[in-house]
Amino acid sequence: MTERLANRIKEKRAELGLTQAELAERCGVTRKTVNTVENGIFVPSTLLALKLARALSLPVEELFSIEN
């Protein structure tokens, strides 16, 4: 069974009217990293997941979920 990390970054980012670059700046990473996390290419560390959740004003478990 393959599990993947799903996320709602794009949706939440759009709700707040943030660009990837703005979100990246808030988290202290490059836009490329936000892009890869958003598209499910890269699984972020706990630290980055928490930073993303904080930047999007959401609990981390609402931003990320495990998809089977």
């Binding site: 202290g28 990473v29 490329k32 598209n39």
Partner: protein, 150 residues
């Protein structure tokens, strides 16, 4: 250029790196092909020794670029941003692939040495070039892939 924020500058530089790395890997590999087709590997002349020294310097620069954040002349803030989480993961994956390729090449050369004469320099040249080139290529391709969904 100077009025760009650190984030914009880091983005610009990481894009440029993603474009350059695979090209650099291909140039590096093709240089090795030229080396083995010439007499430099077996009977180096003075000009070949200069070429070999240039290869050593380039290899050390590539290695330094792979194991450090690179962009040594950029401000620390920009260097830290360029070497963010995704880049570190890509770099480590590149180094992992490079190590495996180097080890497999060493095993292959150890076997091939029974049937052909090979100098220590030739063997080291092949192992180092393939290992570094593979690491560079893998790192570059991962960085490129990260920018594909823009």
């Amino acid at each position: 250029m100077t009025d760009r924020s650190a984030g914009e500058r880091a983005d610009f530089l990481s894009r440029r790196r993603a474009r350059m790395l695979p090209a650099l890997a291909i140039i590096y590999f093709s240089q090795q092909a030229i080396y083995f087709r010439s007499t430099a590997a077996t009977h180096p002349r003075d000009v070949d020794r200069l070429w070999i020294a240039a290869w050593v310097v380039l290899s050390l620069l590539i290695l330094a670029g792979l194991v450090t954040k690179g962009f040594w002349f950029q401000p620390r803030e920009v260097r830290d941003l360029i070497d963010d989480e995704h880049t570190r993961a890509s770099r480590l994956e590149g180094l992992r692939v490079g190590f495996i390729v180097a080890m497999l090449t060493a095993v292959l050369l150890y076997f091939v040495d029974q049937f052909t004469v090979m100098t220590a320099r030739e063997a080291v040249h092949i192992i180092l070039s393939l290992g570094l080139g593979a690491a560079l290529l893998r790192f570059g391709l991962l960085e490129r892939r990260a920018l594909l969904d823009d």
